[in-house]
Symmetry: D2
């Protein structure tokens, strides 16, 4: 089988580097194009990017010449977008018009009615929006998006709790610095400190969770009817968003019933190369999950939960630039492939 040709838009940043790490040696995709800003275009990727991951830059990627973020210059079937928000709307539109499948980690299109906001284990059926999108917009290509990193960790754990009748959710997040981009936060801000604010984050979590868990009725997604209220905080952790969650449910399940829900959760996607096993790992130790110890489980794709207490209260934690960003887009693309959309 020939591999699907894949490009990365915004290839030099934190998330762009994670895309390259995940697409290198991917069984289904082949990295054919790295696009970045004019400052980088024309250079070898190895010279254009300041590689910040703690493994070596993949040699093939290092040798590729960076191209501009322009559909005419990008040679690929699908593009993964790690573009900054101010660019994403226009550029992703250009690529979709030009016939590309666009798997985007940017927030620009997440709220659009005809654009799927997708987590394969949560709402694969929302993929049907793609056809409506292409009809309506007259695009040859299309756009699918993955949620905000904070949303993803919690929402995957909410999926197996839907059976109990979710009524209201409280979320307090403790988010890693890599979520703000490499130069996002000065070291003097974070050392011996917490910043109890992340611009726009609470609003994203609150709206995206409801769309993800909403129902697709054949023509649109009806938001899930429960309320989500979030308080988001930055802590001095490199990778891994830790979230304290309270979930009120109509059936008032016990902690053991909730735990069983997590343990039994099987979305049936083990044929996707990036799908971890398990998707949700239940930690038995009283002081887990912890980001440093648990963020790399399942190649950074497993979401760990622990401390399931009456309330229902629990902790969930996952790798924000893998499960919460690049890995989310790659998993979405794998679902596209499985569904015959690529």
């Amino acid at each position: 089988m020939a591999k699907i040709r894949a490009g990365v838009l915004g290839a030099t940043g934190n998330v762009g580097q994670r895309f390259i790490e995940m697409l290198n040696d991917h069984p289904w995709f082949e990295l054919t194009s790295l696009a970045a800003s004019d400052r980088s275009a024309g250079k070898k990727y190895g010279n254009a990017a300041s590689w910040r991951l703690d493994n070596r830059i993949p040699e093939e990627a290092a040798d590729m010449t960076v191209v501009p973020v322009d559909p005419k210059k990008v040679d690929a079937d699908i593009v993964f977008s790690a573009l900054p928000p101010e660019l994403a709307k226009k550029v992703e539109t250009d690529f979709a018009k030009a016939g590309f499948a666009v798997a985007s980690n940017a927030s620009a299109f997440r709220k659009e009615k005809d654009v799927p906001l997708l987590i394969p284990e949560v709402n694969p059926g929302h993929l049907a929006l793609v056809e409506l999108q292409q009809d309506k917009r007259k695009w040859d290509g299309y756009i699918i998006t993955n949620p905000n990193c904070t949303t993803i960790m919690m929402t995957v754990t909410l999926k197996p709790l839907m059976q109990f009748g979710i009524e209201k959710i409280y979320l307090a997040s403790m988010q890693a610095i890599s979520g703000a981009g490499y130069d996002g936060i000065p070291s003097m801000t974070m050392l011996d400190n917490i910043v109890p604010y992340i611009g726009g984050e609470e609003e994203k979590v609150e709206s995206e969770t409801r769309k993800l868990l909403g129902e697709f009725n054949g023509s649109e997604v009806i938001d899930a009817p429960f309320e989500v209220t979030a308080s988001c905080h930055r802590v001095n952790v490199m990778d891994g968003h830790t979230e304290a969650v309270w979930v009120h449910m109509a059936d008032n399940p016990s902690p053991d019933e909730v735990k069983k829900g997590f343990l039994d959760f099987d979305p049936g996607l083990s044929d996707l190369p990036t799908e971890p096993s398990p998707v949700i790992e239940v930690k038995e130790e009283p002081d887990r999950p912890q980001p440093r110890l648990d963020r790399n489980l399942g190649g950074g794709m497993t979401i760990s939960v622990g401390r399931i207490r009456p309330g229902i209260r629990y902790i969930c934690m996952g790798h924000n630039t893998i499960r919460g960003a690049a890995g989310a887009s790659v998993l979405n693309a794998e679902l596209l492939k499985k569904m015959g959309k690529l």
Copy 2:
């Protein structure tokens, strides 16, 4: 006016050192006795204690000879207790029997019906329990306690919200490492990490908050009728507990009304030397309070709040070993003095 003679029990630890820092040059109290374990007794305090604060050890304290934790060896009118929980119950009893006023930061007696759990700005009237305590226990002295550090920050901010009819409280804490004692947490545990668990902490916050905001009816304190549900987490911050709080209130006040409640809060205790002004500082910046920048306001006694949002949600933060421990006991002792109990 002669100063009141003050001793410190458990003088060598984190909180013991803060007691010495706060009682040194105190206008009402004079440090007359430093008591610690047998390992330290008999040595000069300067040699017995490994001073960990970032100012110099007060010279007079350094020259004092440490005495055993024994009422017969301690020369004082009041003792401040920074004893570990396993010792506090017996030792504090011994001191109260022997006629000392005991202002305790330990948790041993906090739940006892006849022992005041006290924050001067919140429930000064509960001090009346002292007489009931002395009657019942036939003690010449008595014990008063201050709450757990996490409880204090939140409860002070709840006091001015009582007018709106509190119904339910959610709390997610991000707590500093100094709260676990100097040797409490290995550096390998905290670097690049969060520990989403602090043993016993959630239970303490949930019960203490209700006792503090409860009503004294002349013979006992009736717990406040609302529910408190907490999730407590350790983060890599030296000092300063940051807390994300949701407060449901019957009157459904707006964020502006809540802010006004904070700004108008005046417990009328400005004659106490350790009372900060203001007690609650409202931060206007969207990303405050932050522990590194705000924990030392008011000599570490001010509690900062910010991000008052619909919900009502807000952030509160205070210095855990000052406002949340040593300073809490000292402020309680100042209230004792004002009320003529010393």
Copy 3:
């Protein structure tokens, strides 16, 4: 006595904020002018600056209107310069021409033959260069400079060792992040990391040390004849540069003789308000000095030494933005005043 009117150039940055902290309530100087870039000029300082120190912004400073960095807009007898290197050369020249005394923390003029590079405890006699400077340049005002932060800590400790015949110096520094400016280093760079490189730092230390310890022969400063070889590294510490130093000396003094040299060191400047006592503090504990515990000694102006071992090897440590920057300039200005130059 009327106070000397003082301005700060570059008032909004890290070092600028330290200048304001140190000049607020200074017994000899009165803060009359705060100058910063056009972005800030015209605003109240409290609005223009993002105050990052862990005390409150002084109220009077907060209320001052920021002026442009222009001699015609600055009302002062002396200006303290915290300007970035690319601006300092031109702007400081403008101020000196216009008759101001300029006490600069910038590196622009440090190597100029007729500009004193000054540490009051080390080479007060170099101040005589000011007259040569004014003659040669036909300036009404003049410029004096203080060394780089890393240079200062070590050089103060070298002064009492000059008696033993210094022959060669090795220096390995572990420098705090505040030395790079507030936005200087991303948090992702420093967490769980060291950066073994600081651009230009080694060259500065090597040349400045020799000028400081050089001899003024009435017309110029002859560099000290020994070699200095440095390796400079950034570590994840907020404030306080720690330095491991080897000093080879002709007289081959013992560690005890070196220690006595430090203990006996008295530059006779106790009449300067910012001069700490002692200037050099000798720590006896085997694991000191440590930046977190010792950087604030003497209001941040004391330099701590410890671990004096055969070799001679020792550790020195001081507060980089106080003793190593703003405090250095203020102390220099106090020397100017004492010498009748203001």
Copy 4:
């Protein structure tokens, strides 16, 4: 080929866990015995050890029952020792007497004249001491040791410089917290701090380096004739010791000649499974090596160097619990096997 049966002594600690990680799936060794203190003996390893690495505990190891540190209870051909210093002398003697090959990471025997202190790339010929040792001590087994972690990083880089006539070495280390053991350093000690002292470390580096680079004359090792002077410091980094080194050499090579020495270094051990390629990696970037980015190169066995400057000065860095501890012992054991000693 049957695998060699391997045991680990001190299997529950930091280094013990690294041994298990490295021996799991090792092509030549098979993990047959895990020995630890009486507190752990009799339990499943998965229950006895608190696994602190950021990968999963290997399942087979987790299921093994921990045995006491007793030659009669350990089933193995070779034992890897991660014992604490106070136990190592007696226990390792017992195992060597009982016929085991002992590859020790402990310091107990490093200075013994008849015990090889070994780095395969540096002094493989010293292995000949084993026969002298067995003759002299009448042991059926024998002991070989690897150096202290700080010594290893530097000494590997010194080996290719021996050709230039090393005369004197200065070393300033910035060492990771994992070197002190899991509970070795409280978090309050390390946050925002440096500790400029590590007990016994400087003496170890100074003596071990000379033994390693010394000459075996058929009956004993004559220490290398140059002086080593070290200053050792602890910084807040998880793994990876960074070292600033000055090397004086008789031939006075240029930085380019030194760099060529590093690049050309090939100890000819690529048939050892744990040998990295390259052994020494030369970083071209001005700000490398950095522990967070470079410590895992070559599976943690590569030593990175950079900033080769006149002096000769350079930076070297390697993973302290892999290349500097468990990996060092495993590589030594692989050399034993290659040399027919197992």
